[in-house]
Subunit: 160 residues, 2 copies
């Protein structure tokens, strides 16, 4: 019998501000979870749902850098881009995020890597936009499936 530890991905819409908060634990130390977010080759291996492929256009994950990647599925391509406001090794990434299909929508994202000890990490990822309507449309867009499946792929990558 195989015992698999499945961590739950918690996705919560804040009631007072137009923000989504995603919380997820990983069985790997902060350094490793952080590196899977900053190394473009690793990021492309786990980002998004399995049926999508991530191709990096550029990905300069340092304070003042920027990124663009393209997700493709069944002949459709979706571009995403932003800049890195701050990258604090193994602790914090603050970045902007735009889906190029909605070029005027910009989210401010904050990823916090908390060391839980014993080689475990809690990742808290918040996404802030300027209207509740846009936040709710983002949550309703099916992002949940992509986030959960992406983190399952990240579990697999971290276990290698």
């Amino acid at each position: 019998m195989t015992s698999t530890s499945i961590h739950e991905t918690e996705i919560v819409s804040a009631s007072d501000v137009p923000l989504v908060r995603i919380t997820r634990e990983f069985d790997a130390p902060p350094e490793k979870v952080f590196r899977a977010h900053t190394d473009p080759e690793l990021f492309a291996q786990w980002n998004g749902p399995r049926r999508h492929e991530t191709r990096i256009d550029h990905f300069d994950c340092r304070t003042g850098g920027s990124y663009r990647y393209v997700m493709s599925s069944g002949g459709n391509e979706f571009g995403f881009r932003g800049c890195f406001h701050e990258v604090r090794p193994s602790e914090l990434i603050v970045q902007t995020f735009t889906f190029e299909g909605l070029p005027d929508g910009v989210a401010l994202e904050r990823l916090i890597f908390d060391d839980l000890g014993n080689g475990r990490t809690r990742l808290t990822a918040t996404s802030l936009v300027d209207s509740f309507e846009d936040r709710d449309a983002f949550v309703a867009s099916g992002m949940e499936e992509g986030v959960r499946e992406g983190y399952e792929r990240l579990d697999e990558l971290l276990a290698r």
Copy 2:
């Protein structure tokens, strides 16, 4: 008798989201108002209140670029930094903003340059943060004086 056209700077705190909206008209076309925001030498000439001096550390105002500048007054220095998410010539700047004295506070700023015709521009600058408490503290910090006086200096620069 000298007749001076004084434009009012409107600063409004949104009621539903933690955002401040600043609106100001200028007697210059969008290209010129935009350039005063993107050219570091010009920016340093009008940014902030008169008693402060702005020194540019770096200022690469293009999509994916970043900036840092230092304001000094009476021996005190205040650093500000961020990245440029998008720079659309004469139309739009989307950037992040952090006062280094509060390094975990990050605002998402959007500057929209509207062409009013007859060589006039309306600038709408919004600043979004993730809590009403931080937004209200920002408004109460005396930013208003700096914004109003900065735009008066910008009027003078544009009139040259």
